[in-house]
Each structure stands twice: as structure tokens, then as C-alpha cells.
């Protein structure tokens, strides 16, 4: 009888050890985190960057330039790109980030509410917006459907590709542009919503999760029209894809915010990187990559590359993101959210 009980005890001990090893491993991982990061900090430091899907092309040129500056020497970057809302929720849920760049302000506000970003993150002269763009219409080469303005999208048989506003920031800008145009900046709300409803119900068939994925879907042959950032349109055109873009006379100013997490282990480096984005050198690189610069001198220099539309609505015209998000995009409550849910459920 002895042997089996020994075996039993041995197995029990092994199992317990195994389980504690698992649990202990997890705990020690997090415990070791700050230590190793601090050790790294002496020689090099790593900035964990979480951004929405399309500015990768911008960061691809800005990051190497930053690493050549004094503040950026030896700084490594761990980059993650994805749907703006999805990325923001990941960081809010505990993903380790030092610097974030989202498509829309509410995705940063989520982190402010979670206590991860300082409420004064947008206190600088550019309100925390290092670059922006405008909403544009991308069509197939030669514009076979003759798309010129928002009304052309509602022509029978025109299929529009735009991402899902519940995960994508791009999608929110894309829907706000015609909404603002049709509602005269939010004055005639019903007209704006009628347009969005007709567009989403009859012309939007796919729901890619991010602006980048929407572009991929469009380039793979789905749809006649892609709603997107101007910078994304410029990027795919530069790549030689058979598309062109038409910026409608009335469109919307896109402002993409960036912020540093206040609990960052590399606060100084991350702040230096954030500040660097506003320098003329970085602004020029961003402009070259297709993003509209916020620095007025640089903006003037690139004025010919970024033609000013006849009328450019801004988020401030609609009452700011707080109002827009709660009245239009909030799940189950916002008007556009309800329209989108109804059309896609």
C-alpha cells in the first residue's frame, strides 16, 4: 500500500509545483518588467508605440530621423498598428504603451478616463495634433463611375468601401465628412443623417476593421469607391496601384492626436519623441509622406501638394468630439451608430 500513496503524493506535489510555477512565472514576469526596463534605460530605451493603422508610413520615416537626433540616440521602437478604437481599448485594457497616436480624439479620451494619459495631454499649441489630413474619395483609375462629389456615391449600383465605425477612426471621419456637408455643419441634422443612412444601407457592403484594411479590400477588387484619408490615397497612388483620388469640394479636416502615457517607464524619451513630431524637420518628413503638417511655415511650403478644398468642416464646427461622439457614434445611442447597426445587423 505504501508505494501507491508515495506515487500519489509525488504526483500531487508535481502538480502543485507545476501550477505554482505557472502562476509564479506570470507574477515574476511583471515584477521583473520595471527592473529590466530600468536596466535598458541606462544604455538604450524602448518606446512602445500604439497607433492607428495608416500612419505607419509616416512613422517609418520619422522614427529613423528621431533616432539621429540627440534625444533619440539609441532609442528603440516597438510598434503596433491597428484599428484605432481596437488599439485604444487594448492600451486601456493594460497593453504596455509609452506613446499613442490614434485617428480620433475619443480614443485618447478613453485613456484619460482610465487614468493612463494626463488630462492636459492636448495643452500644446497644436492641441496634441501633430498631423492631419482630409477625407477624400478614392476611385478606380480613370474614374469609370464619374464620381466627383458626395451625391455621386448614392447613384444606383455604386458600392462604397469604408471601415466599421465601431473599431475604426477612419470610418468616423469618412461618415462625418458627408454628414457635415449635407447638414451644413450640423445645422440640418436630419438631412445629414438621411445621407448617411442612404449611404450605409444601400452602398456599403463590407465592414473592414480599419482604414488600412479598407484600402486592402478596395485594392483587392471590392467596391467602386473607397472613402479614406488623403494621406492613404497619396500612399497607394505612390505605390503604383491603379487608383486615383477626388477630393470633393466640401469635405472634412482630419486631426489625428498623439499623446504620451503618464505612467510610461520612458517618460522622458517618449515626451522627447512626441515633441520631435512638431519640429519643422519632422513636419516636413510627414508632409512628404502625405500627411498635412500642422506647422504653419511647413504647411505653406507644401501648400501645392495639399490643395485647400472649397469648404473644409472641422470637428470644432460640429461642437467638438465630446458632443459628436455622444450624439452620433456612441453605441446604441448615437444616431449614426444606430443607423449603422440597423443596416449591418
Amino acid at each position: 500500500m505504501r508505494r501507491p500513496s508515495i506515487a500519489l503524493a509525488a504526483i500531487a506535489v508535481t502538480a502543485t509545483l507545476g501550477l505554482t510555477a505557472c502562476a509564479g512565472g506570470g507574477a515574476s514576469d511583471t515584477a521583473a518588467g520595471p527592473g529590466t526596463a530600468a536596466a535598458d534605460g541606462a544604455a538604450t530605451s524602448t518606446i512602445n508605440l500604439y497607433a492607428y493603422a495608416v500612419p505607419k508610413v509616416g512613422f517609418d520615416v520619422v522614427i529613423p530621423a528621431f533616432q539621429k537626433t540627440k534625444a533619440g540616440q539609441g532609442v528603440q521602437f516597438q510598434q503596433s498598428y491597428g484599428a484605432s478604437g481596437d488599439q485604444s481599448r487594448k492600451v486601456a485594457a493594460g497593453a504596455e504603451a509609452d506613446f499613442v497616436n490614434f485617428s480620433v480624439e475619443p480614443d485618447i479620451t478613453r485613456l484619460v478616463d482610465a487614468g493612463l494619459v494626463d488630462p492636459n495631454w492636448n495643452a500644446n499649441e497644436h492641441k496634441g495634433i501633430p498631423f492631419g489630413s482630409v477625407v477624400t474619395i478614392v476611385v478606380r483609375k480613370g474614374n469609370p463611375k464619374g464620381i466627383k462629389d458626395w451625391d455621386d456615391l448614392l447613384k444606383p449600383g455604386v458600392e462604397v468601401v469604408t471601415p466599421n465605425p465601431f473599431s475604426s477612426g477612419s470610418a468616423k471621419w469618412n461618415l462625418l465628412a458627408p454628414y457635415a456637408a449635407k447638414s451644413n455643419g450640423g445645422v440640418d441634422k436630419a438631412a445629414g443623417l438621411a445621407y448617411v443612412s442612404a449611404l450605409v444601407k444601400d452602398h456599403v457592403k463590407v465592414q473592414p476593421k480599419s482604414g488600412r484594411e479598407a484600402t486592402e479590400t478596395f485594392l483587392q477588387g471590392s467596391g467602386d469607391v473607397l472613402l479614406s484619408y488623403e494621406n492613404e490615397a497619396l500612399f497607394v497612388e505612390k505605390n503604383g496601384d491603379p487608383v486615383e483620388h477626388v477630393t470633393p469640394p466640401t469635405t472634412f479636416k482630419i486631426e489625428n492626436p498623439a499623446a504620451v502615457l503618464k505612467g510610461s517607464k520612458n517618460l522622458a524619451t517618449a515626451t522627447a519623441f512626441n515633441d520631435y513630431l512638431y519640429t519643422p524637420a519632422a513636419q516636413k518628413l510627414l508632409a512628404e509622406a502625405g500627411f498635412r503638417p500642422v506647422d504653419t511655415t511647413v504647411a505653406q511650403e507644401y501648400a501645392s501638394k495639399f490643395p485647400a478644398p472649397a469648404k473644409l468642416w472641422t470637428i470644432a464646427d460640429l461642437g467638438g468630439w465630446k458632443t459628436v461622439d455622444s450624439t452620433l457614434f456612441k453605441k446604441d445611442v448615437g444616431d449614426i451608430a444606430k443607423i449603422y447597426d440597423q443596416a449591418t445587423q
Binding site: 508505494r3 501507491p4 506515487a7 500519489l8 504526483i11 502538480a15 484599428a83 478604437g85 481596437d86 481599448r89 466599421n164 465601431f166 473599431s167 457592403k205 463590407v206 465592414q207 473592414p208 476593421k209 479590400t217 483587392q220 477588387g221 471590392s222 453605441k331 449591418t344 445587423q345
Partner: protein, 323 residues
């Protein structure tokens, strides 16, 4: 695979008590084989085998039984049962009404319908062509046979996303052969056929190797046509294997994600399969919908495997009676 072939014996065998396992790449085909006629020694590790031995055993053997059952229960609980229970609880987070609303949303129902429809087509095609492939591999001699035999397992070894890219480069936009299947249901069918190819082949192959050819020759010498021989002699022998392979292929197809993600197009109500719908619901922050549809998918898979066992155990009993 050869070890599985070695274990394979012809003729009816007593059924094991092992519960049907969820499909796993690599091991599934052999599970299918064992289920309808493996050597008892080869499946001694199942609880049924252990208890059967223990009933006749004494001393140490007798004591191993509760321990074995305990470890198996603990292991299955930690790995399979508890996560499944947690998922089910999450799906009913807002009560039965919330669950019902989530799975009856038109887009959710559509994705489940597309999934089942496409998987059924894939399973049926597999049943016919998989059997044919196995037949050719066993009964015909040709150059490069060993190479073909190895290629069959490639879809198992290949990451499924690679399958998607492979198919997209052939059937996608600017297709070199002029066939564009991306963002269509046929695209889904082709992708799923690719990843489920080995199931029926690997289930049928060993049974065919062990099948008694003399019986077929006897039938032929008694004047049976080739078709009669196939229908009355060969098919009944292969049926359980075909069925098991088909069922596993179906179960794998309904859960497939990687292989359809690029070629499927993810168009709601047309080519969006349930796994893509689940992913989408997670991305737009609606975990309840994702959990509810996952539970529905789980139920479909479970019912499939259950039916499979009922049917195969029936046919086994019939075989035993006939024997």
C-alpha cells in the same frame, strides 16, 4: 502516419468508451481510425481501456484506476471543460434573452448559415474525392506515389494563413489563370477544401490497405459487376472511415479562420463565416455577441461529432451482427 497504419486491423472491434475529441490538426485522422477498429492495446490510455484492465487487475493496477481517472478529469477540465464553461457563462451574461438576441441578429444568423452551407459542401466533396484519392494511393502504382502521399499532409503542416495567401495568389485579383474566386463562396469552398483534404484520405487509406481483396475477387468471380462489387463489398467496409473523415472535415471547416480570412472577402451575409463574425464582434467591442455565436458554433460542432459517433457505433454493431 505509419504507426497508425500498424495499429489498424481489419474487422469489427468492440467500441471504446473514449469521447469524441475535438478535431486537432495532425492527430485527428488517427483518432478517426481508432474509433472504428484500432488495436485495444493502442488505445489503452483511454479511461475505458484503463477501467477495463483495472476490472481484471489486482493490487497496483487496481489503484491506478482512480488516479488515472482523476488526472484525466483534471487535465480535461483545465484544458477543455472549464474554458468552455467560462465561454458559455460569458454568452449568457445578459440572460437568455441577450443570448437569443445575439445569435438571431440577421448578420449572425447569416454567418452561421454561410458557415454550415459551405462546410457541408466541402464535407461532401471531401467524402467523394478523398475516398478516390485514398483509393488511387492504395490500389494504383505510379511514379511519384510517395511524393503525392507526402503532399496530402501538407495542408496540415502549412499554417492556414499561408494557405490563404497561396490561394489568393492563384485565384485572387489578376489571377494568372484567369479564375477570380476571392470574395465569393466558391473561394471559401476552395480554401476549406485545401485545409480539410487530409481528413477523409487519411481515414480511408488504412482501412483500404487492410481490406481483404480476396473477397472482392470472389465477388467478381461469382459474376458481380465492378459497380456491384464496389457497392456491396468495398463501400460497406469503407463507410465508417469515410463517415468519420467527412465528419471531422466538417467540424474543422466550420471553425476555420486563417485559410478564409484573405480569400473570403468577409462580406457580411455573403461570405462572412462565423469565425470572422466572432472576430469582428470582438474588434468592435461586443464580446457578448462573439461569445454567443461561439457557443452556437460549439453546439454545431458537438452535435456533428455526437451524430458521427452514434452512426458509426450503429454501423459497427451491424457489422458485428453480420460477421
Amino acid at each position: 502516419m505509419t504507426s497508425d497504419l500498424d495499429q489498424q486491423r481489419g474487422g469489427p472491434r468492440p467500441e471504446t468508451d473514449a469521447a469524441p475529441l475535438p478535431p486537432r490538426p495532425g492527430a485527428t485522422a488517427s483518432d478517426g481510425i481508432r474509433r472504428h477498429g484500432g488495436d485495444p492495446a493502442a488505445r489503452g490510455e483511454t479511461s475505458g481501456g484503463a477501467s477495463r484492465r483495472a476490472r481484471h487487475g489486482k493490487g497496483l493496477r487496481g489503484l491506478r484506476r482512480p488516479l488515472g481517472i482523476g488526472i484525466v478529469t483534471l487535465w480535461l477540465s483545465v484544458i477543455v471543460l472549464l474554458p468552455l464553461a467560462a465561454l458559455t457563462v460569458a454568452a449568457f451574461d445578459e440572460g437568455l434573452a441577450g443570448f437569443w438576441e445575439a445569435i438571431t441578429a440577421p448578420a449572425a444568423l447569416a454567418s452561421l448559415w454561410v458557415t454550415v452551407l459551405v462546410s457541408a459542401v466541402v464535407a461532401l466533396v471531401n467524402a467523394v474525392l478523398g475516398t478516390l484519392v485514398a483509393w488511387v494511393l492504395v490500389r494504383d502504382e505510379f511514379r511519384g506515389k510517395r511524393f503525392v502521399n507526402a503532399v496530402i499532409d501538407l495542408p496540415f503542416a502549412l499554417p492556414t494563413i499561408v494557405a490563404s495567401i497561396v490561394l489568393l495568389s492563384l485565384y485572387g485579383p489578376n489571377s494568372p489563370i484567369g479564375v477570380e474566386l476571392n470574395a465569393t463562396r466558391w473561394g471559401l469552398v476552395v480554401a476549406l477544401l485545401f485545409v480539410t483534404l487530409p481528413f477523409v484520405v487519411r481515414s480511408v487509406q488504412p482501412v483500404l490497405i487492410e481490406a481483404d481483396r480476396e473477397v472482392e475477387e470472389a465477388a467478381a468471380s461469382l459474376g458481380a459487376t465492378t459497380w456491384t462489387t464496389f457497392r456491396r463489398i468495398v463501400l460497406p467496409t469503407l463507410a465508417p472511415a469515410i463517415l468519420s473523415g467527412t465528419g471531422l472535415a466538417f467540424a474543422r471547416a466550420i471553425g476555420e479562420y486563417g485559410s478564409v480570412v484573405l480569400i473570403g472577402g468577409n462580406i457580411p451575409r455573403e461570405t462572412q463565416v462565423a469565425s470572422q463574425y466572432i472576430q469582428q464582434q470582438i474588434e468592435i467591442d461586443r464580446p457578448l455577441n462573439a461569445a454567443a455565436v461561439s457557443v452556437a458554433l460549439l453546439a454545431i460542432a458537438f452535435v456533428t461529432l455526437l451524430l458521427l459517433r452514434v452512426v458509426s457505433s450503429r454501423s459497427q454493431r451491424r457489422e458485428e451482427r453480420d460477421a
